[in-house]
Amino acid sequence: MAISAAETEQLREAVRDLLADRCTETDVRRVMATDSGYDPELWKQLADLGLPGLLIATEHGGVGLGAEELEAVSEEIGAALVPSPFLSSSVLTATLIDAAGSEEDKRRLLPGLADGSSIGTVAVTGPAGSWTPEGVAVQANGTLTGTASYVTFGQLADVILVVARTDDGFGVFEVAPAAPGFLRTAAEVFDPTVRLSQFTFADTPARRVGTAGWEAVQKALDLSTVALAGEQAGGARKIFEKTVEYLNTRVQFGRAIGSFQAMKHLAADRLLDVESATSAARHAAADGGPGAIALAGFACAEAYETVALSAIQMHGGIGFTWEHPAHLYLRRARSGAQLFGNSRLHRERYLVSKGA
């Protein structure tokens, strides 16, 4: 389903208003310090807006919207640095079930994800962290054995999907949270707003979800890349706005520092980065092709990181403190630049899409 641009804008504003109220910097810092890394209250409120079910079909209890609405909402989520399993559960897991699962799987799993009562994750890559077929380090042979790394919000999940090597290529498997031989360990993360786990499987019983192979995984990763790109564009815009505000208020040598050209010129260049990231993310959502997604995959990640780095430089000493939010954006930028495939991978895919 697609809704009008005006309706998308309404949805975006509803999310923005909620986050302005319920996901302030203080909230982010409070949630960062918790074990779970998310705010169940906020999650419920996001569910009331339909966010966890955004991509899930109405027949399975979702809202049934598409990539463009997802991208718009993601810009707001990224701007507010929302610590939540949205990307992991509502995008990656929901899309994978939709792409790989049987009707029965969908009927059983999607409604819980849609109303936010269950939280999903997908274990894809091994220690290589490449999110490519080569990176998969779990073997399926009746049961699962091996390791999956960088599993987003893995500790939280009760719907657990694992991508594993099979005799016929790759398969998607569902593992029960209490399955024997399944161990999940929370990793210590650089960006406390995005939690990661390591999963190990030792002869762990698992149920194959549908018969789909890597294409289904790629589809879910692609949509996740679109959402992540939206988060990156939104995060870049937000920290850039905060920086421009600071340039207007901080006074040195009797002048606002924004009156110095060194600052103006950095700011003009970063504006180009922010706008280009926004264009790339929106285009990826509208186009959906591999070239557009690959472009967003590296352009948004790189722009966000550059904008966040400049923001710290432009804030001077205060930017180097834990207290100032600039580093939270840089952390999020740096984590996003590795998740679901790094710039190198996306650049290569982009070139291939251009016939190179």
Partner: protein
């Protein structure tokens, strides 16, 4: 009103009947009789300036409809449509000129029967354009001009120049300027070619001695030239974001992937990385422009609009570096016997056309920071001094 589909049909049919192609002009500064004849037809059909009023060759159409024309012309490879979007002199004269000036100039400019150049920069006034010292003094129904301009592109082939000159030395610098159209073919206009870093010579220094201008050729009011100039410069900057001149020999393709493949460099990881960077810069600029255009059509302003020229400077310099990487040591060579190297080297040097010409990247960044981001203005120590008292280099 005509619908977009009807118009598309109309333009397509018209092009099918009229357009048979043109031999290219020797360069962008000159034109040919065939080209003029073609442009006459485009003007007569109302396609040259479709958004303009009907009495001035237009059809008073909204931009979306006019874009349909541009798209059809572009796919046919035919020039001349949508000059309401890219002709600096035509738009400036339409917006600010007297009836007589519009009458004398517009048609000839749109058909390239008359060519124009820009008398803006001076030895002491480049980035600081408001510092021009070329002076115009009123004498009855004429103005008499004396001074020197520099870096004037296309002066040798121009019939008119758009001139910014000082008409009052006793007020602060922005207030004493006026904007004129100067006929080039008259005594006292002395054009001396300057050789560019590319070895070409399309720009010049121009000495003006007792040059005469009709009072009707004052554009906008006396002393209000800065405002006219700002509008004209905004046009220029928006056009310069759209693209740039291609190679000298046409021996290297715009298709960078094909170039890398042809030269056996496509597997080199460093080349691949640069290639992805450059292709992405190009595509991002196109996507930004599309967003700016969509915003303009919805009547909202977008900060993206002002970014095109700065983006283009970056793209052209990055492309030049990549092409140099691909061609390798061959770029040590030059001349007609080495057309690929010659093109690559040409493009590397010519990239400055965009990053200096029409305002440098540094000035452009300052403009974006102040006008788009709202950062505090540069302190201007000479802003309120009478121009006579201002320090000069």
């Amino acid at each position: 009103m005509t619908s977009a589909d009807q118009l598309r049909e109309e333009v397509r049919a018209w092009l099918a009947a009229e357009w048979t192609g043109l031999a290219p002009a020797p360069d962008r500064w000159s034109t040919t009789p065939e080209r003029i004849a073609w442009l006459e037809k485009v003007v007569a059909a109302g396609y040259a300036v479709p958004t303009w009023p009907v009495e001035w060759f237009g059809r008073a159409w909204p931009a979306e409809l006019a874009d349909v024309i541009a798209a059809e012309f572009e796919s046919a490879g035919a020039p001349g449509a949508r000059q309401d979007k890219y002709s600096i002199p035509a738009n400036t004269v339409l917006a600010f000129g007297t009836e007589k000036l519009k009458h004398d100039l517009l048609r000839d400019v749109l058909t390239e029967r008359s060519r124009t150049c820009l008398f803006y920069s001076e030895p002491g006034a480049g980035s600081d354009l408001a510092a021009v010292r070329t002076t115009a003094v009123r004498d009855g129904d004429r103005w008499i001009v004396n001074g020197q301009k520099v870096w004037t592109s296309g002066a040798k082939t121009a019939d008119y120049a758009l001139l910014i000159a000082r008409t009052d030395w006793d007020v602060p610098k922005h207030k004493g300027l006026s904007y004129f159209v100067v006929p080039m073919h008259q005594p006292g206009v002395d054009i001396r070619p300057l050789v560019q870093i590319t070895g070409e010579s399309h720009f010049n220094e121009v000495f003006l001695t007792d040059v005469e201008i009709l009072a009707d050729y004052l554009v906008g009011d006396e002393g209000k030239g800065w405002r006219v100039l700002q509008t004209a410069l905004a046009y220029e900057r928006s056009i310069m974001g759209d693209g740039a001149r291609a190679s000298r020999h046409g021996s290297i393709a715009d298709d960078l992937v094909a170039l890398a493949r042809e030269r056996g460099r496509l597997a080199d990881p460093v080349i691949r990385d640069n290639l992805a960077t450059v292709l992405a810069l190009r595509e991002l600029n196109a996507l930004n422009n599309a967003r700016a255009k969509a915003a303009a059509e919805q009547g909202t302003s977008s900060s993206v609009m002002s970014l095109g020229k700065l983006a283009m400077s970056g793209i052209l310099h990055a492309e030049a570096r990549l092409r140099t990487d691909i061609a390798g040591p061959e770029t040590l060579l030059a001349g007609d016997a080495n057309p690929v190297a010659d093109d690559v080297n040409f493009l590397a040097l010519n990239a400055f056309f965009t990053s200096i010409g029409g305002g440098t990247d540094q000035i452009q960044r300052t403009i974006i920071a102040e006008r788009v981001l709202g950062l505090p203005k540069e302190p201007e120590i000479d802003r309120d001094l009478p121009f006579r008292a201002v320090r000069r280099s």
